[in-house]
Symmetry: C2
Subunit: 208 residues, 2 copies
């Protein structure tokens, strides 16, 4: 088989869909992967760690990176920057890893535009909006205002699920994990166009 | 999980790539599928059977079907029609089956246009052009003229492999079969847009 270079798996879906639980559940079974961390200029909250929850940088560093086209995508939320830095992604792809992104529908489009040929995208959703509401209220880490915001966002994003290669309805965690594992393993079989081109070039080996 | 409707797996690649051998090898492991047969107006050759190698029809029937938009795609080769009839495909999709097409790059594009949201496409290729030449000459069912035609066609088609979701290099049959099985099982997880729309409609179940 052709030597594989890195590939991308995009996971989107509302906060409360169970993305982190699913990834933790299949982490040992899908082989070597790099989980892309977002970079942000917002203050570190209690319990948050650099390199675990976010890469925390200053506004100056972030804006310098914007200038140097070092972001796959970025956005401003409540005056703070959030973005996906390209350098660690490039490094992981060069090392042949499966790069996993946890990003929203806008981010998915940005990844598709830049890395479409090696990307598999999955939208993960709770079975219903009221189930999502239950989950968010149960975990009680957010204020009602934040929960309402998340629900409004979810209602918007669910309308764009057809932009994804797969939808996984996370009703039962074990079932959803099995499906996601299957998709992740197949995502590894994508071959970057540059490798295809090299292969095609060598393929025609008959000299007449 | 959402109830699945039918999905499509397109297999392309030169005659001699081993598509039939691969399908036979994984047939018992990928579950219920319908292998789409081409319809043709050419004469039945010795050893060929209706419904096994082709659907053989008259020119009049074929042209009537063209008029009624009953072909997913069709072409004329040496004065004979060849095409993929839509009716058996529709029936198999309605029954929730995996519909497998063995078609060329033009056919792949036609399928993509009509059934893109439920289609996974795979280009199967021998490791090199000279290996393809060896295989075609070894099986000695074709004249040198036909073999040359197939090689020319292969050289053309290999340039368009980036139009496919996956490339499988059939060097070792067991390895290639494992990869194709993995792809076929994941192809089953695609959800048609119409089912997504129904799901999205029902998803927002909170009435305020």
């Amino acid at each position: 088989m052709i030597k594989h270079n890195g590939v991308v798996l995009v996971l989107s879906g509302p906060s409360g869909a169970g993305k982190s639980s699913l990834i933790n559940k299949i982490a040992d079974e899908i082989g070597d992967f790099y989980f892309s961390l977002s970079t942000t200029t917002r203050e570190k909250r209690e319990g948050e760690e650099e390199g675990v929850h976010y890469h925390f940088v200053s506004k100056e560093v972030f804006e310098e990176d914007i200038k140097n086209d070092n972001f796959l995508e970025y956005a401003t939320v409540h005056g703070n920057y959030y973005g996906t830095s390209l350098n660690p992604v490039r490094k992981a792809l060069a090392a042949g890893k499966l790069v996993i992104f946890d990003i929203d529908v806008q981010g998915n489009m940005a990844v598709k535009n830049r890395l479409g040929d090696i990307t598999t995208s999955v939208f993960i959703t709770p079975p219903t909006l009221s189930e999502l509401k239950n989950r968010l209220e149960k975990r009680s880490t957010d204020t009602q205002e934040v929960i309402n915001g998340r629900l409004a966002m979810a209602r918007c994003e669910i309308q764009r699920t057809s932009e994804y290669d797969f939808i996984v309805v996370n009703d039962d965690l074990d079932t959803a994990a099995k499906v996601l594992k299957q998709i992740a393993l197949t995502a590894r079989l994508k071959i970057p166009h540059q490798i295809i081109n090299t292969f095609v070039h060598k393929w025609e080996d008959i000299r007449e």
